[in-house]
Symmetry: C2
Subunit: 267 residues, 2 copies
């Protein structure tokens, strides 16, 4: 399981403020704490800065790389920002986040994926929005696979994101998402990445719903997860889920995590 | 989801002692607390009493029925005890627990299932033990379906129990169990019931593993669960899982449960 730490995102007010005042210490602490909590990739997103995005992204990448060796997940709506950012990344392989089933966007970004041999997150949506059904989302994935073929990008370099939707507004979305994971996996040699927190939007005890849904997604075949690694409930459930699906050999990480928490509590 | 409260089982020392001294108050409290915590069925098992089992089962049934109207899950290794017990059950439908893929045992118990129109738990094992793979366990289920046909018992009356095994001794068992659920469900018009706690045997923080596995099993299609309803972590996860899979319409039970816990904490 690839764990992508999601905290450095300018849609979060504290992060936006830290980027605004170029507070490197604040960002560094966010990086270190995510890495220590188990993040393998650090997502960096400053999309809310619009015309200053590329400059802010450069500062973010330099700041993150000054404290850890973790590879980055370059998260931007702008193809230009992505292209400029990838060149600055020291640790390979980078994840580019994201393309969609829109051909123009794929054509703008896939050459960079190919040139720098990165991974890429591909959202199963297009200019008309997010389709409701698993079948339609899988069709989006198939369209994206064709774009990849055109640009000679290996399908194993793509993390399809089936786009978790709130069950509070459409209760079928939980099952639809799990079906979509299974259908895209059945295309063969495909990987899945998800964010989770959207599922619980508008409902109480969101951590409980997010953690429970994470367990279900892991069993369905999730390969990567965009997550707040400082959320202990989510990380505990992830650890248990990996032990249960045999991805954590001899449950060693699960047992070590338990010991660490136990020691921390005993202090 | 059918929730079967598992606490009244003489393999638990306190329950065995209460049955031994015919402590009706103790048993009644166990029944009431399980019912209040959300159990729909009350499992009764006094199998450790061997030659006194039928008499003890009669006392248990009378004691349970004196305080709640919940239907019972008659849990016994003995066909004679089951037959005697079912006659005493006031609340329908009863669940008989259990038959296996052993023809002799099925022949002894299925006529009672038919006569009293009960449900029956069917363990996917035979005299040679529990098969390791999902395919072999599904073959056991198919054999059991033939027994049911012979005795004209509707297949919808059977809860197949695919027999959760510890991941601590064979780590593939988590995935195998989930596969077995999916394979038995794909036979058509089939129901699945599980106990969970075996999965975490020998590992730390068993509640976390059990709850995480419960979420996975619900997503795989679980219809009934044998559970300690006083375990809040398990019941919270179950509540979230039912909201996520659309079984709890408008997430009403989930929201109500949250409010109740919140009120209790605020007091």
């Amino acid at each position: 399981m690839v764990i992508i730490g999601e905290r450095i995102n300018s849609s979060r007010k504290k992060i936006a403020a830290a980027i605004e005042r170029q507070d490197a210490e604040f960002i560094k602490n966010e990086v270190i704490s995510q890495k220590e909590a188990g993040a393998q990739y650090i997502d960096v997103n400053c999309g809310t800065f619009l015309d200053k995005e590329t400059a802010m992204m450069q500062w973010l990448i330099e700041t993150v790389q000054s404290v850890v060796n973790a590879p980055l997940c370059i998260d931007s709506p702008s193809a230009d920002t992505i292209k400029a950012a990838v060149k600055l990344c020291k640790n390979k392989p980078v994840i580019i986040n994201s393309i969609t089933a829109e051909e123009e966007r794929a054509d703008a970004i896939l050459p960079t994926v190919k040139e720098y041999d990165t991974f890429v997150v591909a959202l199963t949506m297009d200019e008309t929005g997010i389709p409701r059904s698993a079948e339609e989302r899988t069709k989006m994935a198939e369209r994206i696979l064709k774009f990849a073929e055109k640009h000679k990008v290996d399908r194993k370099k793509i993390y399809f994101d089936p786009l978790v939707q709130p069950i509070g507004s459409d209760q079928a979305q939980g099952k639809i998402l799990l079906q979509t994971i299974a259908m895209i996996k059945s295309l063969g040699n495909t990987k899945i990445s998800c964010g989770l927190s959207n599922v619980s939007f508008g409902l109480p005890d969101r951590s409980l719903l997010n953690a429970t849904f994470l367990a279900m997604c892991v069993a369905a075949g999730l390969d990567a997860v965009m997550i707040d690694p400082l959320n202990e409930k989510l990380m505990s459930t992830l650890s248990a889920a990996l032990a249960l699906t045999g991805e954590d050999q001899y449950c060693m990480n699960y047992i070590q995590r338990f010991r660490k928490i136990h020691e921390k509590t005993a202090q």
